[in-house]
Subunit: 195 residues, 2 copies
DNA sequence: CGCGCGATTGAGTAATTTCAAATCTAGTGG
DNA sequence: CCACTAGATTTGAAATTACTCAATCGCGCG
């Protein structure tokens, strides 16, 4: 499966596109290859595109201005979207970094092209509504998990729900995503390999 | 300002509606008054409507099946929307309660009417896309706050950003929303009235 | 006026962090 | 292809943050 098929399949799970629409859509996209550690969004710069991950792995995080601590806020692997939501929708300076954790192939849709797409094929308005709704739903679940569960329960949840994350991201990234320290995650894991 | 003006203003901040469109829109809404402690969404029942709050105060929360603990996940006062996002968008059984904390006036848009509205006035697809995007953006910020800040910092943030919440909701609801116990919030607050 | 819910207080405890050091691992240059 | 090194993980002890439990207090509503 090539890059374009990948994103078209993603979209087609929510709206039906004919051949012409697919062509119009894909002509608005930019195919990009990025290398490990490359950053596609940085604080103080406007996040200009939505990014769809074809293959590879990316993380979104902030760096605390006080203590320099890195806080991971989002992860993305194959078939996920990732960008600084707030920066993108308001076209205002970002607060996140979005960075490749591995060499990755991504597809980007710029803010301008997104607007053009709405005029040409209003159906995309629906797709991105559904996409945003699913994002909000997922964030609400994650929020709930963080508020009401222990670190160990959250880790189990992640391991069951997104086992690929554990393969693609180093432990310290997973730990930060869960809101705990890498040392503590290590202790959680090792307190169980014994039993 | 009457109930309808209130919600029309809310929508008009994002899309422009003419008189006819406003009439079509409002004919799809249901105006409801609910009393304190009344529940409009319950676990195991499908969340059938989006709820817009004209006046009053509502909270969304889950009850942990193990320990019976109540975890507040969302709050809404004047001009906010509140519903079980996951249940509503998938039209599947809810996991939340949504309950009035005070006598409230709300406006509800049912899932069926929402779909009809999209056919009649496609512009609403845009409105709800923007709405979902803003919800996702807000949740991402809250997520970040919960992951990287102390209870005290989160409380200050809430007090600055949404001072009305402190007036409308009892302390124990605010505490749960912040992810802390009511006792601990009390200690935070009182450790400062002294200085 | 009293009952019940919500807020406060304190003591003891559990979860998680911080700091520091040791160990392991994977990538790079020679 | 090996040795080196920077990055990543593990381990332990001490410190912090926030929780639980239990008792008390305050106050608004019936």
């Amino acid at each position: 499966m090539n890059e374009i098929d990948s994103i078209v399949n993603n979209i087609s799970r929510f709206v039906t596109l004919d051949r012409v629409e697919i062509d119009v859509f894909t002509s608005h996209l930019k195919n990009v290859r990025i290398k490990k550690r490359q950053q596609i969004v940085q604080p103080d710069f406007v996040c200009k595109s939505r990014t769809y991950v074809v293959s590879g792995a990316l993380k979104a995080y902030i760096v605390d201005p006080n203590d320099g601590q890195e806080q991971v806020i989002g992860l993305a692997i194959d078939d996920w979207w990732i960008f600084d939501f707030t920066s993108y929708i308001n076209q205002e300076p970002a607060t996140f970094f979005v960075e490749a954790v591995d060499d990755s192939t991504i597809i980007q849709l710029s803010f301008e092209n997104e607007q053009k797409l709405y005029d040409l094929i209003p159906k995309f308005e629906r797709f991105f509504r559904l996409h945003a709704q699913r994002t909000a739903s997922g964030l609400q679940k994650r929020m709930l998990s963080n508020l009401s569960k222990t670190a160990e329960e959250r880790f189990d949840e992640l391991a069951n729900r997104y086992p690929k994350f554990l393969l693609k991201f180093p432990q310290y990234v997973i730990a930060s995503y869960l809101g705990i320290t890498t040392q503590f995650l290590s202790k959680i894991r090792n307190s169980r390999t014994k039993s």
